[in-house]
């Protein structure tokens, strides 16, 4: 059953899907609603609005890939499915950003971890940003609904060894651990979620809400880049977009104008502020692009005595929140502990080195485990995140200075990760840091971390979670949209993605985006339908 390719079947059945690369002349189209982006937010919005009987046009800059393209091959997947061919980084190059760029957005390439927005985060939003309609109790029905829609439940099979090492380490140290809820149906437990699910088991936007929208007469343009929302008096009149050639990166010169009554922007925490900035959307308090957050991630690798095969099996099934909110929601930087899958290209890009040492390190791959810490940013006065601005060519860039507050949390995470790995029986541990040797004991690692330079570039930093930049709040002086994602100043503009989060959230964000987009789209459908 999981083998059913909903996309292939829908295309055969006559879905209205247009590949921008096939367009040869400029054109104009019109719908009730134009949605920019087809990820967690855009897909959810499209399905709900289309089912409510509204005409919908979806716009996606990346291309449409589905089962026929998902061949468990890293190099092809990174080049085609990820932003900037997997080379996206923050402005100074210090944080590598893993982000989807294809129909389904990051949900097509994520590792399927599906957490509700943590209660401390929602409560903090209520007290700090006046978002008291988003309490855990108020959001519960939306989480329930989306968990059903995306088949989200805790992973029932045994964790793979890579994840079990995190469990064993936490268990040995008396630290809490839990099983990760995943959005899969009939999962084969292969381990290739990050390069496009080869079996259609992953219940991301690509296999759920996008087909749901297209079944209900929505139109999808992929390979079409949203350039600019054009204002006419107080409202947006149309979206200007550029078709991309079949390589996915070169504009073909063909332009498309899309007119609508309402526009929903769901182009990610980097793409959405970028589009709003390019469009000169009214921003009297200069908020667009500000307070953009990542979960900065640092990592350690461990050489285990026995086979780990970290490339096989559900990539994420165990996590620990022992240090996430333990020092208070707005105390020192907390972090969530998880493990990443390790395939050869990813490992070669993440483990820094060259020559003899590099081949020696990589040759251990079958016995390597890795632990990652996802830092929670944006809750403390000293943790204000980054800023999205535009490059000369109009593309968005995220400036993300790593604050002393974050460095402290990252160092703390290095200690905890190394300690977990040794407690789980690691022979050696290496930090993903240019200066780190292999440590042979926890005592040696501890002494090493004590003296480690916590500096950009030397500490290897990554992220797969982008949030904020069009933050929601009650006060227009410090936010871009209200708690329904409605823009404070432009009546026919909504934002339905992770860019509206006023802080990072302290968990993998896809379910938070699904739930909030479902809530806000249900309201939007009522407004537009009446």
């Amino acid at each position: 059953m999981s083998l059913t390719d909903r996309i292939a079947r829908g295309l055969e059945a006559g879905w209205k899907v247009t590949d921008g690369a096939t367009l040869t002349q400029n054109q104009t189209h019109e719908a009730d609603v134009v949605i920019v982006g087809t990820g967690a937010g855009g897909g959810t919005t499209a399905e709900i609005l289309a089912k409510a009987g509204l005409s919908v046009i979806l716009v996606e800059e990346g291309r449409l890939y589905h089962q026929k393209d998902f061949k468990m091959n890293e190099l092809d997947a990174y080049a085609s499915l990820y932003q900037e061919g997997m080379s996206r980084v923050t402005k100074d190059g210090a944080i590598a950003i893993l982000q989807g760029r294809c129909v389904g957005g990051s949900t097509t390439v994520n590792w399927t971890s599906s957490f509700r927005t943590p209660a401390p985060t929602l409560n903090h939003w209520a007290s700090r940003f006046g978002l008291d309609d988003l309490t855990p109790a108020a959001m519960k029905p939306w989480f329930d609904g989306r968990e059903q829609r995306h088949n989200i439940e805790p992973w029932l099979a045994d964790p793979n060894v890579n994840n079990d090492i995190l469990r064993q380490g936490c268990e040995a140290l008396g630290w809490s651990w839990e099983v990760i809820p995943r959005n899969v149906k009939g999962c084969w437990n292969l381990g290739y979620c990050g390069v496009g699910c080869p079996t259609n088991a992953k219940q991301g936007a690509l296999t759920t809400t996008i087909p749901g929208a297209l079944d209900n007469n929505a139109r999808l343009f992929h390979g079409l880049r949203a350039d600019k929302l054009v204002m006419s008096e107080d409202n947006i009149s149309h979206l200007q977009a550029s078709a991309m050639a079949a390589d996915g990166v070169t504009p073909s010169g063909v332009t498309v104008d899309l007119k609508a009554r309402h526009f929903v922007v769901a182009a990610s925490a980097i793409g959405s502020p970028g589009l709003l900035l390019r469009s000169d959307i009214p921003d009297p308090h200069d908020r667009i692009g500000k307070r953009t957050f990542l979960h900065p991630v640092n990592a350690t690798i461990a050489e285990m005595p026995d086979t780990v095969d970290p490339y096989y099996g559900a990539p994420q099934s165990i996590y620990s929140d022992e240090f996430n909110f333990s020092q208070g929601v707005d105390g020192p930087a907390g972090f969530k502990l998880e493990v990443p899958p390790l395939h050869p290209a990813m490992s070669a890009g993440v483990v820094p080195g060259h020559g003899e040492q590099q081949i020696h390190d990589l040759s251990k791959l079958p016995r390597l485990n890795s632990v990652i810490a996802l830092l929670r940013d944006g809750f403390h006065p000293d943790s204000t995140g980054g800023t999205v601005s535009l490059r000369d060519d109009g593309s968005p860039i995220l400036d993300y200075p790593v604050s002393d507050y974050l460095w402290k949390g990252l160092k703390d995470a290095f200690y905890k990760m190394a300690e977990i790995q040794f407690a789980a029986g690691a022979r050696k541990v290496r930090l993903m840091h240019l200066d780190s040797p292999w440590y042979s004991s926890w005592a040696e690692a501890k002494a090493g971390i004590d003296n480690l330079a916590m500096e950009p570039h030397r500490v290897r930093l990554f992220t797969a979670h982008q949030m904020g930049g069009c933050g929601m709040g009650r006060n227009p002086e410090e936010s871009v949209v209200n708690s329904f994602g409605e823009h404070h100043h432009v009546a026919n503009l909504s934002v339905h993605d992770a860019s509206i989060f006023p802080t990072s959230i302290g968990a993998n964000p896809q379910l938070s985006v699904y739930a909030l987009a479902a809530r806000n789209s249900t309201r939007l459908a009522q407004k537009l339908g009446s």
Partner: protein, 214 residues
């Protein structure tokens, strides 16, 4: 390059070199510096156009790949870098070794094409800095041309940039190693070096996209 242009570039760069450390410390200074190099590199006759099908790969078996980003000079640069970068993973047998290097450089080019204009511009600056003789000597401190650079001297250069206290050099090191390591170790031909067995064959046998007619 003409003598007067050469002199003016030299003056320009030696002024810069006076305070190179602090100048390179900031990303902005670095970007400006790299920009200057890119312009002068073009004026001085460095290759500035993608190599297309015209590239210096002596004895290459297959010239069908068309380079979209790397210039002839970049290709020479990577021919020098790869033996230090992934050296122990390359075969000794000269013909196979050349093919391994050629195929890896082609994958680097194909990968960078997907990076898009903004990151390509950053890499252009980095590659020009390394290709332009004056900055190769003063900034990378590699004395001979890349064509003649020994693997030891290339390794020493990589090691200097890895251990440097200047973030911009660390960043350059990461950029060079990342594109090289991913293109090399990530490819099926070299999976055995990391011990990665590849996707499970039982799954490939069962999935429609791996069938011949898929």
């Amino acid at each position: 390059m003409s003598e007067s242009l050469s002199r003016s570039v030299q003056t320009d760069l030696s002024d810069t070199a006076m305070d190179r450390r602090s100048f390179l410390r900031t990303g902005l200074g670095g970007a400006m510096f790299l920009g200057t190099v890119s312009v002068t590199a073009g004026l001085s006759g460095c290759a500035i156009a993608p190599a297309g099908r015209d590239y210096p790969m002596p004895g290459a078996m297959d010239q069908s790949y068309e380079f979209q980003f790397l210039t002839r000079d970049d290709i020479v640069l990577f021919q020098a870098l790869l033996p230090a970068m992934v050296g122990p993973g390359l075969t000794e047998e000269p013909v196979v070794r050349r093919q391994q290097i050629q195929a890896t450089i082609e994958r680097i080019d194909a990968g960078i094409h997907q990076f898009g204009p903004a990151n390509q511009k950053e890499l252009r600056g980095l590659f020009d800095l390394l290709n332009f003789g004056l900055t190769r000597v003063t900034v990378a401190r590699v004395w001979s041309s890349w064509e003649n650079a020994s693997t030891q001297s290339v390794d020493a250069f990589l090691e200097r940039w890895r251990t440097s206290g200047i973030g911009l050099f660390n960043n350059g090191y990461i950029a060079l190693t990342k594109v090289s390591n991913v293109a090399f170790y990530g490819h099926e031909d070299h999976w055995h070096l990391s011990g990665y067995p590849g996707p499970p064959s039982w799954a490939m046998d069962a999935l429609p996209q791996f069938k011949d007619n898929a």
